[in-house]
């Protein structure tokens, strides 16, 4: 160990959860409470967001955005940066559906309370619906096609300020328009005296509340600022620890720590497995300019899928198409005429889908597609194809055999798009809504934490990220994470008050 440090509160992770907790606890600094945020990723300067696909993916995402599940049939995208995954999301801001929170059945967690807290952050992060002139053709066609095809199309509120429409949200906004924790909550926390240390990975948490932290050196030629601390290993003592390293990061950290954690730790992983579908229009449309994700169709309750507008970059688009060769190339060369839809399956907790760690402590995600999840993707693909055709697309590229659906296929989608075309390993399924692993519940027998994120049996340890979700949220999760993190911060304040008294 190169050094020992001591803090009252240590927050692990700086994304939607960690950033929120840091901001909410920051006023305590005035009373002499020492608060530290440890972030594994680096802090990027504004000018480092170039929008170049591979360069930014390598810099911002774990494994370049392609963290593989154990059986190699799905990639998971999560960021490692000051601001966590809020740096790379599109800023789509929805509050948790009542039916989902009811179905979670967490004693002490009320939908109204979560909604109220989420609304606070929606206001803080400038969440609003984009004005019509800022909507591009890719989104407009989704609205037109969706309504013609009989779907209820809704507009996403987004948390942007001064959006110039670069369409590069998922590579980190080059114009700093997206109001993630890196733009709002963390700077506020730092101004109030919270210390944020980047490139600082927490290797484990000891039962005596000592954290083993490794601070990495900035490699030559890479993006991001050097860490605020000198590279090396540190022993950081804390009175209260808040783990907010994301579903995978938090679960893996607790699993490799010698703590008496509940048995269900790591279990209950869900992720909204997603497919990107493209369709070709007869003439060019505006697609790679403008906010990429402005509308959605929610069939989560009835058919286990949600459709969202999207627009991705050349490599991600190429890998998402089924097949290869001339047909694949022809679609890629039609890029200026492509409309895109993201299909998210509303998966649910399934036995065996869990986060584990290797012998060296690295996270391993076990995930198998249930027939219900595949069915959600199949139904979602058919719905997306209906919308594409209703919007005037002349052909749709989808998991089918052959993979091009022509307008004549529009009436026989049930026949052309079936579960046999969705075998794992045949198509590029990815996920970015990583949830579960430290689910909330009543006791250690059925969950990892209580409704306030406190780990059962370890009152000094709280969790404040999407790992708290006891099941899939069925919508984009960040506002719900912030709402839950707000509760965690309140719990920490209560704990501190009790200690003082």
């Amino acid at each position: 160990m190169s050094a020992s440090r001591s803090y009252d509160i240590v927050i692990i992770g700086s994304g939607a959860g960690g950033g929120t907790v840091a901001q909410e606890l920051a006023p305590l600094v005035r009373d002499g409470v020492r608060i530290l945020v440890l972030e594994k990723g680096p802090r990027f300067a504004d000018q480092e967001f170039t929008g170049r696909e591979l360069e930014m993916a390598d810099a911002l995402y774990q494994d370049g955005g392609a963290f593989l599940t154990r059986d190699g049939t799905m990639t998971l995208a999560f960021a490692s940066a000051y601001g966590g995954s809020t740096v790379v999301y599109t800023g789509t801001s929805l509050t948790a559906p009542l039916r989902v929170i009811r179905a979670w059945g967490v004693p002490g967690l009320e939908h109204a309370d979560l909604t109220r807290r989420s609304a606070k952050y929606a206001e803080q992060n400038n969440v609003h619906a984009l004005d019509d002139p800022l909507i591009n053709d890719n989104n407009r066609l989704f609205v037109e096609g969706g309504r013609k095809a009989g779907y209820l199309v809704e507009q996403f509120p987004v948390n942007v300020q001064g959006c110039r429409g670069s369409s590069l949200c998922n590579l980190g906004c080059p114009n700093q328009a997206k109001q993630g924790t890196n733009r709002v909550q963390l700077p506020r926390a730092e101004r109030a005296g919270v210390e944020v240390v980047t490139r600082a990975e927490v290797l484990r948490i000891e039962p005596d509340r000592t954290l083993t932290v490794r601070v990495s050196q900035k490699a030559a030629g890479t993006k991001g600022a050097p860490s605020e601390w000198a590279p090396g290993d540190y022993a950081v003592r804390a009175r209260i620890v808040v783990a907010a390293a994301g579903a995978i990061g938090t679960s893996a950290l607790l699993l490799r720590s010698p703590l008496p954690a509940p048995r269900s730790l790591g279990h209950g992983f869900t992720c909204h497995p997603a497919l990107i579908l493209v369709a070709e229009h007869p003439r060019p449309i505006t697609n790679d300019v403008g906010h990429p994700k402005s509308y959605f169709v929610d069939h989560g309750a009835s058919e286990r899928f949600v459709l969202e507008t999207c627009m991705y970059f050349p490599f991600v688009t190429a890998k998402s198409l089924t097949g290869f060769g001339a047909t694949h190339s022809a679609i890629m060369h039609a890029f200026p005429r492509l409309q895109m839809i993201l299909i998210l399956a509303c998966d649910h907790v399934a036995s065996g889908n869990r986060i584990a760690v290797s012998r060296t402590g690295s996270p391993i995600v076990h995930y198998r597609f249930t027939p219900e999840t595949i069915d959600g993707l199949v139904r979602g693909t058919r719905a997306a194809a209906r919308i594409f055709f209703a919007a005037g697309a002349r052909r749709v590229h989808a998991p089918a055999d052959p993979p091009l659906l022509e307008t004549a296929d529009a009436d026989r989608l049930e026949e052309r798009v079936t579960a046999r075309h969705f075998r794992p390993g045949m198509l590029a399924v990815s996920a970015a809504h990583l949830m579960g692993g430290c689910g909330m519940g009543r006791t250690a027998a059925d969950s990892v934490t209580d409704a306030w994120g406190r780990v059962h049996g370890l009152p000094w340890l709280r969790v404040a990220d999407a790992s708290l979700f006891p099941d899939s949220l069925e919508i984009n999760p960040y506002l719900t994470i912030m709402g839950l993190a707000d509760r965690v911060a309140e719990g920490v304040r209560r704990d501190l008050a009790v200690v003082r008294d």
């Binding site: 190699g72 114009n175 190429a318 060369h333 794992p424």
Partner: protein, 129 residues
């Protein structure tokens, strides 16, 4: 087995036919991108990939009497198509991985992005006016 090996080139030109028109410098750029991606992966995965490329090269010998890199493009395509539909997850996944690397190497180049008409720009709408 390296990225300049005949089998990788054979798969790459099958997955992206335009890759056969790349000059030496462009090919090097593509190979360097793929090499960086592989280097960032765990050792075990690197070994699996190298082994899979060897299998890819020799598998067709059983059916077609020739190695993959010696097959004509039509047979090569047919063989790879069978792999991606294989009932064995191991083969489907292996091909999916190699295919992904090829697509990353090819479409990750700024020149390829321009060639397909991808025009995203940090200035957004302003750049289109």
């Amino acid at each position: 087995m390296t990225l300049s090996s005949p089998v990788f080139r054979a798969v790459a030109t099958c997955v992206v036919p335009e890759a056969s028109r790349l000059d030496a410098a462009q090919w090097d750029e593509m190979a360097a991108t793929v090499a960086r991606a592989i280097a960032a992966r765990p050792r075990a995965m690197q070994r699996q990939l190298a082994l899979f490329l060897i299998l890819l090269e020799w598998f067709p010998l059983v059916r077609y009497g020739r190695r993959l890199s010696r097959l004509d493009p039509a047979r090569r395509t047919k063989f790879l198509d069978r792999l991606q539909r294989s009932p064995l997850l191991l083969l489907r996944r292996g091909f999916w991985g190699v295919r992904t690397l090829v697509l990353m190497g090819y479409y990750g180049r700024p020149a390829a992005a321009a060639e397909i008409g991808y025009r995203a720009d940090a200035r957004g709408w302003e750049a289109r006016r």
